[in-house]
Symmetry: C2
Amino acid sequence: MSFKITILGSSSALPTSKRFPSAHVVNIHERFFLIDCGEGTQIQLRKFKISFAKISHIFITHLHGDHFFGIFGVISTFNLLGRKNDIHIYSPGNLEKKVYSVINKKEIGFNIFFHRLSHENSEIIYETKNIEISAFPLDHRIETYAYLFKEKPKERNIKKEAIKEYNLSIKDILSIKKGNDFITKSGGHIENSKLSIPPYKPRAYAYCSDTKYKESIIKYLKNIDILYHEATFARDLYETAKITMHSTSEDAAKIALKANVKKLIIGHFSTRYKNTDIILKEAKAIFPKTQEANDGNEIIIPLIREE
Amino acid sequence: MSFKITILGSSSALPTSKRFPSAHVVNIHERFFLIDCGEGTQIQLRKFKISFAKISHIFITHLHGDHFFGIFGVISTFNLLGRKNDIHIYSPGNLEKKVYSVINKKEIGFNIFFHRLSHENSEIIYETKNIEISAFPLDHRIETYAYLFKEKPKERNIKKEAIKEYNLSIKDILSIKKGNDFITKSGGHIENSKLSIPPYKPRAYAYCSDTKYKESIIKYLKNIDILYHEATFARDLYETAKITMHSTSEDAAKIALKANVKKLIIGHFSTRYKNTDIILKEAKAIFPKTQEANDGNEIIIPLIREE
């Protein structure tokens, strides 16, 4: 029941030899979701040993080059590796047109489904029995979306010994998993807590980049485990952040604090910072549980039972 | 009077964490020419500390992704760095259309001149007082060109002491530099070798990738200093090379041998070779002065005087 984020790129517009442009991979229950796809993403996937075959959903936040110039290489490489499985790509703007201007559609041996985002508020864009992915608009120079990856609430887990002891039927088990008590054939009342244990807490991770400080997104981020929020600049470049519609260290930390998230990861650092300590320090002063994104970092969200 | 080649990428279609896709930079007299521009080229330029500002000519061999997917990032980064100087891009096919499908032309603050190649035999595509760059077709699955970078022949260098001794005029000097003897006012005959020294030999480097074995290119490569020739496969995959229109180790070495080049560099290795020793060994058996391309390699062509 994995829930692991791998940072593939943590720079802003200009990559450096240490920081590639934006891209994360999140592995939820061994399904891999790629978020943003800056230039060199396929190189980072190989470097950090992430299976290309396991990726079938790609989420692009916006059509600035440092967030999507790697999509051509990723698609070409999927094709060269003989991929047959569908790919779904979510993005605002007309990414499909750009992709097929560069790549010959006829040469691609698998289906690509482009899902063009264009909505207000938060919408679920993909779900399975166990997970739900939603997107909501950010505030940047062009149309941009944040992505929120959530496990669905789980039912209680039945105790194996209880099944034997009370000779429980499938129907009984389904009822107990929902939290109900159990009445035996002789009319005895068995409390649910004797028959089942609490489920694991649903885990959640959100990716918010690029954006200026936007308070209205806080409601979507309440109590989540991991918030990735861009922090392109330190506090002293507040005015630059405002003009370019990016966030500072403090902007990111304030969002984390107000949303009461468990951990904040900051990234998308401007290349002007040879050393990003100042950005981290300023964010930690407001929200201590802040971590700096570095290429290759893995962040695991552990399974914890509800109380 | 530099003439230095830097290997930015040496893989074939699929990059690895050690080998980026195709790209070389050649520095001739402190002018930098970029040849091919695979994904991640801008990252390699930074890594190997090559000034973006000094590049104003880009030569793309063909429009397979591993040779041009880095062009979007390079152009965007030039723009973000505030570039004002023109860029000239040489390529077969309609690269201009691809570039402007991905990048908004209006947002680019400098001129880009696209030069579309479409010719038989060899043609000079760019020249200055001191250098000459020509392109000739290779034999690949799509239209592909090789590029040849040559210094122009130089005149002999006048000995400073001779100017004083014989009180040489500008006209005299120009004549002596061409190799003529000198007749003094009193009718004395001074041999040229007493007045001047031989010039440096013009240096040359060619980049031939991707191509199957093509004998008709040998005439353009005669006696050059450095030949870069693709060697995607080892000998045992001769049939695969034929079908995909690539070269083997032996194909590259035979071209080098027949052209009598001074040094052969092989690259564009298929990802199936974790270790490329076998390719190098097979090439060396035919042409001993073969070197394997590795990302970051620098090859300097020294200045040598003619005899």
